[in-house]
Each structure stands twice: as structure tokens, then as C-alpha cells.
Amino acid sequence: MKVLQNLKNFFNSILNVEEDYDFTMSDETASNTQPEDLLKKQNIYPSIDVNLDYIHSRYNSLINSDIKIRNFLLNAKGKEFKAFLIYIDGLVDSSSINDFILNPLMLKNYSNQNTNPQVISEAITNNISVRKIKKFNVVDYIYECLLPQNSIKKVSSFDELVKDINSGNCALFVDTIEFAFDIDIKNFNQRSISEPKNEPSVRGSGEAFVENLRTNTSMIRRSINNENLIVENIVIGKSNQNNCAVCYIKNIANSSLVAEAKYRLNNIDVDYILSCSELEQLLKDDPETTLPEIMSTERVDKTCAALLQGRVIIIYNGSPYALILPVTLFDFISSPEDVNLNYRFSNLLKFLRGLAFFITLLLPGLYLAITIYHRELIPTELLYSIVATRVSVPFPIILEILMMELSFELIREAGLRVPSPLGSTVGIVGALVLGEAAVSASIVSPILIIIIAVTAISSFAIPDFSLSFHLRIARFAYIMLGSLCGFLGIGIGIFVHMLTLNSLKSFGVPYLSPYSPLSSIKNHSYFLKPVWKREYRASFLKSKKPIAQDKISMKWREK
């Protein structure tokens, strides 16, 4: 073991060479370390000058152009206090600062100049007047009389305050007060709500999530009119402390599921996360698998449906996607369109998608296995025509199929990366011109072009992008197995694939539920039941309300 460790260290020492970067400036001119006192947790000081110095230092305000610090004298009951405001330009509503913060705080009107104490009650007995006077307290006065804002917090920790300032709040520091007023006046430009780009639906809602967390939660609130809808905020990241919202319906979602989701979120120790997809990878039960274990969606209606089924939703600030958990494999083959159509239409589409799933995964591998090992399966006439088309092709079938698969993947990747006006050109050049030329030049056989084209079209029928990716990778494995030992190889692939699927879980829910392990399929079979028969919530969600609707939902028919 020691020898192995030494070998490992030896190779590590060879591979991990620290690079000396060739900057124009010398190393001495720039310091890469931050002052230690800024990294410590610090409470707000009573002295405004110390607070100001700290803020200047923490925000590097001398070089930071969008950090605004406004010093002024605060007027309260004729007394003047030194104060300052700090906010980030572009994240706040400037007119609100002027009109509803600076104006009331600096204005010297009669009421504010009046030094008479506030009388709470007065009693006159035998010409002796007894007054109950409220003692002047500058904090209460500012909070109750001078700041006409709906969302103000008193914050005593710099860390908490800085986090809020970074997200668009403004902080008011007043001399002699050991905390700051954290005022919510966020207002920044954001993308307006638009139609879902990647999950289109003919008859579904036209709203998709945007990058702003609060806009997203408000869209959910608007769709679900239920006071039990809970939206809890959890902060993730150290360098970039960003908010994510955990949403669930309290009296429907399983408490253990909610607790598990919150536990995982609270125990993510990363420097920063910028997107929902990164968060998804950190939350997965099995991070190594290529199969998706959490569903991400940009559709508000799909998210609301998931909430009402008893699932938990996670929305990350800055990402226009919501994460749905837990999910099963069959959820990834379902489309948001399904629920909007007559159940018979939906089931036809679901059947087609199921077929597409198997074609995407198996067709090239099966073609190889059959043409190399099991030719007897092909009817004689068809076999003759296949052989005839392959006569002039110099490559073995495996090479031929790998070339075509790789070409197709390249065309797909190029089509995604080029600017959108050029995308269709890449497709036409790649698929039509290249395919036609390859057949004419006898590099590939026409039958293979058909196989690859059918596989590609089938892969587009898979609604979920992540699952489609998994199928693309697995397809290559099936191609190799099919070419190595025919149906035995395909059998190996199917068996190992099924073992993998059976070993996976999404937040404790078996990935192939409700089919494996076989449990109640009541309302979560792959094929949809009519709307009036969807009486139960999925049993694997162990919802607090397993029954979704009465046995007879169309009560009007009874009358």
C-alpha cells in the first residue's frame, strides 16, 4: 500500500506543477490576500465613523464605482444625528431613496423640529395635570415615524447586512445606534416574463420562469391559490451568497421529503453556484449517474402541478428554471402537453414517446447485432437489398455506424453553438448535403442513413434534455456491445441498464416507481387516466393527502 501511495505521490508531483503566470506587473505590486479583520464575523459598531470606515474597507468603495455612500445629518425631534446610507447603484430604486428615505430623514418640518415630548395620556385632578409622556427613543422614532417603507429590518451583523445590500437593499447607519436599518427598495431591470423556449406547449400556459427569484415565486403564488403554499428561503454559497426558495404545499407534501430537501440544501458547502443545473448536480442521490434524478423545468404550470401532487420545488435566484423533486423515469418521458389534451390523445403520444425511447437507445445497436450475427432474422429479400447497398462500402458496419453517429452528434452540437440564423444552414449542409454525398461516395450505405435518421428523430421526441443526453451516451455502449457479441451483448446492456435504473433513487423514491418495486399504480401509471378518474396522488410520494378528488368528480352528472 505504501508503495502504491508513493507511486501516486510521484505521479502527482510530476503532473501537478504550479504554473508561474507571466503578468506584466510584478507580484510585489499586488496583494492577493484580504485583510483578516474583514473576514471575521463583525457586529455593527455604535460609532458611525468606525462603521463608515468598515464599510469603505469592506466594499472597496474607493475603487468600486457602483457602491454609493451618502452621508447626511438625520433630523429627529430637533436633534441631529450623523448618518449615512449605503446601496448599490443599479439594484435600487433611486426615486424611492430620494422620496421615502432621504426626504423624511433630512426634512426639517414642524413635526420633526417639535421638541415637545409625546404625550401618551393626560389626567387632570384638582387642577393638577398629570401627563404620561413617552420617552424619546431615536430608534423607535426613525422606525415608526421617519421611514415610510413596508420592509425594514434592524440588523446588527455586518455579514447579514452586506448580503442584503448585495441583493439590492439599502442600509441606513445612524450614529450611536448599534444596528443598521436594512430597507428593501430593490428595483433592477430584468427580463420580462416570456413563453417557454425549451418546453413549448400548444394548449398550456404561456408563462415561463425568469431569473428573478421573487418574480418566480409570485408566479407560483398567482397560480396556486392556497395559503398552505410555503416558500422558504435558504442561502447557498460562501463567496456568492445566493437565495434559493424551497416551495411546497404544507398539507400535501410529505414532511420527511421536505425535511430531506432542506437538509441537503443546508448542507451544501460550496464557494458559489450560478445556476439551477449546478445545484441539481449537488442535490442528486447518485452524482455519478448520467441519468437525471431531479427534473428542471421553465414552465410555471408544470411546477404548480408538481406542487399540487405533493412534490417539492426548488427555485434558485438567477436561474430561469425550477427543480422538481422527487421524480421517476416516467416523468421524464411525459410532456407538459399531456395534461392539456384528451387522455386518449395523450396516451397515444405517450406510447409514441415510449417507442422513441427504445428506438433512440437500441436501434443502431440492434441493427449491428442483426446484420453481423443474426442475419436470419431479416427476411431474405430485405437481406439481399441490404447486402446490395453495402457492396461498394469499404468499411465494416461498426465503423460505418460510428462515423455516422459521430457526424450526427457533430451536426447537432454545431447547430446549437452557431448563431441561430446559421443553425438551419448547418442542419441542411450537415444532414442533407453530407448524407447525400456520403452515400454517393459509397462511404456509408443508404440503409444506415435511414437507421441514423430514425434514431435522431426519435431522440428529438424525448421531452427531457437530460434524459436525451443519457440515451445518447448509452446508445454508444449498445452499439459496441451489439457489435461485439450480438444479442448477447444487447442483453448485457439491457440487464446492466435495468440494474442501474433499479438501484437509483430520487430523494428516497425508487427511480422506476411505481412499476419497480411494484406498488399501487392508482394514479401514476405511465398512461394517463381521464381527468375525472385521477382520484389519487402518486403513492410513492406518500402525500399527506393521498386522495386528490372524490370518486365522482363530475357531480353535475348525478343530478
Binding site: 427476411p379 444479442f487 448477447l488 442483453g491 448485457i492 440487464f495 446492466v496 440494474l499
Partner: protein, 374 residues
């Protein structure tokens, strides 16, 4: 918490897979050869006996709740008896699975993998079973439960697609070689229900031990039905001589299946399903060998043992020198070892355990009565 608990459908599938893998190879052929046209009758007869036998077993298991035969043997004769029984079970399972895999690998080699050495095909199967066991018992049993309907449907397809080619006259004479051969000496064909070995071990894995009876009865009835279907299909499709060749009997049937003019040779599709069956079979057997080993060694992790078991199975596949030896091991050795282990040894231990329990219960009751009187 025991994470290896399984439901009824998974448990039934675990039991059936053993019978199905034997059906695919030479079991129907063996029964047909020994009973000729009385083979279907004999299958019904042995199924009924197996059912009665299982009902007796389940009665004997009653005082042991969710304990398996190893726990019972420990109760009867201490840890030494448990170790002896475990050893016998392990050797039996390793030997039979090794022979069965070799037999199927040989079939594959004959059918289409002519250039691949049989040892390599066996090794592929064993490695896949090792991989499957790395995923855990639950994954293995669930995968097996998913595959089972497809496997059973395949058997039904074989039967139904040959329906038009059946020659009903082949059932005559109904009693074949005579009453004696069908019902007296024919009782030895009960070895076909060697799958009962899993029923001796499965109890601790069931989510609900009360369902053990259901699992046993359903699996025996299903296995019996499918054995009946295959034996009947074989009997009605081929003359006895062909059926008695002893090699690839079911495969020979599938070669005659055609669906219209387009699909005239679909036997390769059955090979795919059967390959899956044998992957599943070997994984299940390996899981149980590991369970027995873990129980005896008090280990929590089974990873290193998987390789040892795999090596054991692979060594067994290297023993037979020719097809005759494979058939001998598959039919004769399996027959007698199954009869001894499943129907004599395990039953005796269970009976002894039951009697001991009853005696103890009697002593406790007498003591209680004495206490009450005093």
C-alpha cells in the same frame, strides 16, 4: 434496518427464475424422455405434490416466523449444523449454477457465437452477475421481477405460435409408459421444483412474512403451469425421437416459429430473452450464496466474497469435458442433489426444528402450569 426486504412480486420472480432457466435448457426434454406421452400428466402430478409439500413446509416454518432454514438448523444443532447446511447449500448452488451457465454458453456457442470460446461466454455471464451483485440484492430482485413477465410471455408465445403445428394424436397413449412410470417412479421428476430451495431461504427477505405462503403457492403454480406448457408444446410439436435428442429442445421449437412471410426465423429474439434470463438467474443465485456466506461469517460487506463465489462458479464451468458430461451434471447430478437437499435434508431439519420447538413449548406450558399451581 434490513435494506434487503422485498415485496411479493419480486419474491415470486426470484423463485420462478430458477425453474424457467431449467425449462429453457433441458428440463422439459428430461421429463418428456422419462414419461413420453404421459409427460403433461406427470407435470400436473408433480406440481400437485410440490404444492402439498410446500404447504407442509410452511406449516413447519410457522413457529420460526421470519427465519430461514439456516436459522432453523442452528436452532436444531447449533452453529456446527448451521455451518454444515450452509456449506451444502453453497456447494449445491455453485455447482448447479456453474453447470447451467456452461450449458447455456454451450448452446450460444452452437447457435451463433461459434468463434467465441465457451469459457469466455461463461466468464461474461459470471462477470455480469458479479456486477449485478455490486448493485445489491434489491436491484437484482427488482430487475428480475421486471424481466419475469417478458420471460413468461416468451414461453406463452412459443406455445401459441406453435398451436397450428400441434399434432393432438401425440398425447396418446395418455399414460405413456404406464401408471407405474408416470405416478410411482415418475415422482422423482419432482426435482424439477428444485426452486423450492429459494423458498427455504427467502423468508427473512420478505417485507411481510405472512405472505410467504402466498409466494410459495403462486410460484409453484406458475412454474408448474409453464413447465406444463413447454412440455406439452414439445410433445405435440415433435415426435418423441426428436424430443429425446436432449440438446436445445426449446430452441429447436423456436426455429420452427414464423410470423407470416416476413419473420420466418425469430429464434434469435428468444436468445436475447434467454440471455437476460440467465443473467438474472446467475445474479439471483450469487446473491443467495453471498447471503449464506455473510450469515456464517458475520460480515457486513460482501464485496470481496463476490469474487470468490464468482471464481468458484467459473471453476465449475471448467470441469465438464464434453456435452455428455454437461447433460449428466445438469440432469442426473442436479436431479439427485435437488431431491436430497430440498426434499430430504432441509425437510428433515425443518421437521426436527418444529418438533424441538413443540417440545420446548410443551415444557414451558408445563412449567407455567406448575407455577400456577404452586
Amino acid at each position: 434496518m434490513n435494506t434487503d426486504k422485498i415485496g411479493i412480486s419480486e419474491a415470486i420472480s426470484l423463485v420462478i427464475i430458477i425453474m424457467i432457466s431449467h425449462i429453457i435448457l433441458s428440463l422439459p426434454n428430461e421429463i418428456l424422455t422419462s414419461n413420453l406421452s404421459a409427460a403433461p400428466l406427470n407435470v400436473i402430478y408433480i406440481t400437485a405434490i410440490a404444492l402439498v409439500f410446500y404447504i407442509i413446509i410452511s406449516k413447519l416454518f410457522k413457529p420460526f416466523h421470519n427465519q430461514d432454514i439456516l436459522d432453523v438448523s442452528e436452532y436444531v444443532g447449533g452453529s456446527i449444523l448451521r455451518k454444515i447446511i450452509s456449506f451444502i447449500y453453497i456447494v449445491h448452488l455453485i455447482f448447479i449454477s456453474g453447470i447451467l451457465i456452461l450449458s447455456f454458453a454451450d448452446t450460444l456457442k452452437t447457435v451463433y457465437l461459434n468463434d467465441m470460446p465457451t469459457e469466455l461466454i461463461c466468464l461474461v455471464f459470471i462477470l455480469i452477475a458479479v456486477l449485478a451483485n455490486q448493485f445489491g440484492f434489491k436491484s437484482v430482485s427488482r430487475t428480475n421481477a421486471i424481466l419475469m413477465p417478458f420471460i413468461l410471455i416468451t414461453v406463452l408465445i412459443i406455445f401459441l405460435s406453435l398451436f397450428t403445428d400441434f399434432v393432438p394424436q401425440r398425447v396418446f397413449p395418455v399414460l405413456g409408459k404406464g401408471i407405474n412410470e408416470t405416478f410411482i417412479s415418475g415422482i422423482s421428476n419432482i426435482f424439477a421444483f428444485g426452486e423450492l430451495i429459494i423458498l427455504y431461504l427467502i423468508r427473512p427477505n420478505l417485507k411481510d412474512t405472512k405472505q410467504a405462503n402466498k409466494v410459495g403457492i403462486i410460484s409453484i403454480l406458475l412454474s408448474g403451469s409453464f413447465l406444463f406448457i413447454t412440455v406439452t408444446a414439445l410433445l405435440l410439436s415433435f415426435p418423441f425421437i426428436t424430443g429425446g435428442e436432449g440438446v436445445l429442445s426449446i430452441y429447436m421449437i423456436t426455429r420452427t416459429i414464423q410470423f407470416g412471410k416476413f419473420f420466418q426465423r425469430v429464434d434469435a429474439l428468444f436468445i436475447l430473452i434467454w440471455a437476460l434470463t440467465f443473467f438474472s438467474y446467475l445474479s439471483v443465485i450469487m446473491s443467495y450464496i453471498l447471503k449464506i456466506t455473510k450469515k456464517n461469517t458475520n460480515t457486513s460487506k460482501s464485496s470481496p466474497m463476490i469474487y470468490l463465489v464468482a471464481l468458484g462458479i467459473f471453476i465449475v464451468t471448467l470441469i465438464p469435458q464434453n456435452i455428455a458430461q454437461i447433460r449428466f451434471a445438469e440432469n442426473v447430478i442436479y436431479k439427485y442433489s435437488s431431491l436430497f437437499i430440498v426434499f430430504i435434508l432441509s425437510f428433515t431439519i425443518l421437521l426436527l426444528g418444529y418438533l424441538k420447538k413443540k417440545k420446548q413449548k410443551g415444557i414451558v406450558e408445563i412449567k407455567q402450569e406448575v407455577n400456577n399451581e404452586s
